[in-house]
């Protein structure tokens, strides 16, 4: 079963479903309208990634895929943050800093939370989760 089939067919329940879609916008273009409550568009502070992110925001908007929040990942400095905010000035932007703990976890095949639950990137993502929980009432 594809991600789009799963997300469009799962019955309403109290279970929170977190789906990690394929890179790019392929799955978003195939996802039936209104399949999700929230779309998180993850971008790095590079023109290439921002370009893809802007297209993803457009597709998600056109297809009414819930509230759209941009997550700026691997942000190293104020310039990086400003670049992303400028590109998505109509949307909420959550900043996740570049963090060697994440790199180390990736190389170990471990979750960043298990390597260091207090790592800056983990804290930023915890803040994002809290924000979503508050705004969606979960």
């Amino acid at each position: 079963m594809s991600a789009e089939q799963l997300l469009s067919s799962v019955p309403e329940s109290d279970t929170v479903i977190v789906a990690d879609l394929e890179a790019g916008i392929g799955t978003l273009t195939r996802l039936p309208e209104g399949s999700v409550d929230t779309t998180l568009v993850i971008v790095e502070p590079t023109p290439r990634s921002i370009d893809v992110g802007q297209r993803a925001v457009l597709v998600a908007s056109e297809r009414q895929q819930g509230r759209i929040t941009v997550v700026a990942n691997k942000v190293a400095d104020g310039d990086d943050e400003a670049r992303v905010r400028a590109a998505f000035n109509d949307h909420d932007v959550v900043i996740v800093p570049v963090d060697p703990v994440v790199t180390a976890a990736d190389r170990k095949g471990a979750s960043p939370m298990d390597v260091d639950p207090e790592a800056p990137a983990v804290n930023a993502i915890a803040g994002l989760a809290s924000l979503l929980a508050e705004t969606t009432g979960t």
Partner: protein
């Protein structure tokens, strides 16, 4: 002539490696056609080509014959003509063809898929060295979008996730249409054990070892090709990779007959 396609997990560095590979191959006076089958522009940045979102006209294809492909190139337009008309010229005389540029981004891509398939299937094998960049993940590669390739190069970072995707992708070697050579390019390598980790996990030869190079990150942020911003260890490693491929394949088999830059 060589036809090589780069695949791997999203973010593994396929576009940076493939774009740099294409330009370095072209610098050896080889005719190079860079093909990006991702509907999103990724390889263009690494080649140093401005992103062009203008869609190709709809009348490039017509409905195909009964029992055949749904859409075919219109009469009088063959693969060579399509490339000549719709490929962009880039630095080092690389010609660049992007699938996603064919029909615009949010319409159905079906017509474009058929045209793309016909172009890569029918293009003159003596005309171009083809360097392809597939979208991240396994979907497109598994569906046969790299059928044109003699070599499938899996770009792999020394992470469990990246290796996991590469393990799936290497199953392509069992397909009927499999490329003759499925190889590994280790990317963002920091120490020898990184290569050992990748090599042990995959059953394919590692033909390239590309070090982690901060200049590539800088180039990405500046929307520049790694060749145009502080070329260093990354570029040196891709140059070596080009040398390996060049030594393995006789790239002088036939004289280019079409569109030689």
């Amino acid at each position: 002539m060589i036809r090589i396609a780069f695949a791997g997990k999203g973010g593994s560095g396929k576009s940076s490696v493939s774009g740099t590979f294409a330009r370095l191959l072209a610098r050896r006076d080889r005719p190079v056609l860079a093909v990006d089958s991702d509907p999103l522009p990724g390889m263009a940045y690494s080649l140093g080509i401005a992103v062009d979102d203008h869609p190709t006209p709809d009348d490039v294809v017509i409905e195909g014959p009964e029992g055949g492909p749904r859409w075919v190139l219109r009469p009088g337009l063959d693969a060579a003509g399509f490339i000549e008309t719709y490929a962009s010229s880039g630095p080092d005389h690389v010609q660049y063809l992007q699938f996603g540029n064919t029909w615009g981004h949010f319409q159905t891509l079906q017509r474009g898929q058929h045209a793309w398939s016909q172009v890569v299937r029918e293009m003159d094998p003596a005309a171009w060295n083809v360097v392809g960049d597939l979208p991240g993940g396994t979907r497109q590669a598994m569906f046969g979008w790299a059928k044109y390739a003699d070599v499938l190069a899996l770009v792999v970072e020394p992470t469990a996730k990246s290796i996991h995707v590469a393990r799936r992708l290497q199953n392509i070697s069992k397909a009927e249409w499999a490329p003759s050579w499925v190889v590994v390019v280790a990317n963002r390598v920091e120490e020898d054990s990184d290569v050992e980790q990748i090599s042990e996990a995959l059953e394919r030869p590692v033909i390239g070892v590309v070090p982690n190079d901060a200049a590539v990150t800088e180039a990405d942020k500046l929307a520049l090709s790694p060749l145009d911003h502080r070329p260093g260890p990354f570029v040196d490693a891709v140059e070596q990779l080009v040398g390996v491929v060049e030594a393995t394949y006789d790239l002088d088999i036939q004289t280019p007959t079409n569109g030689t830059p």
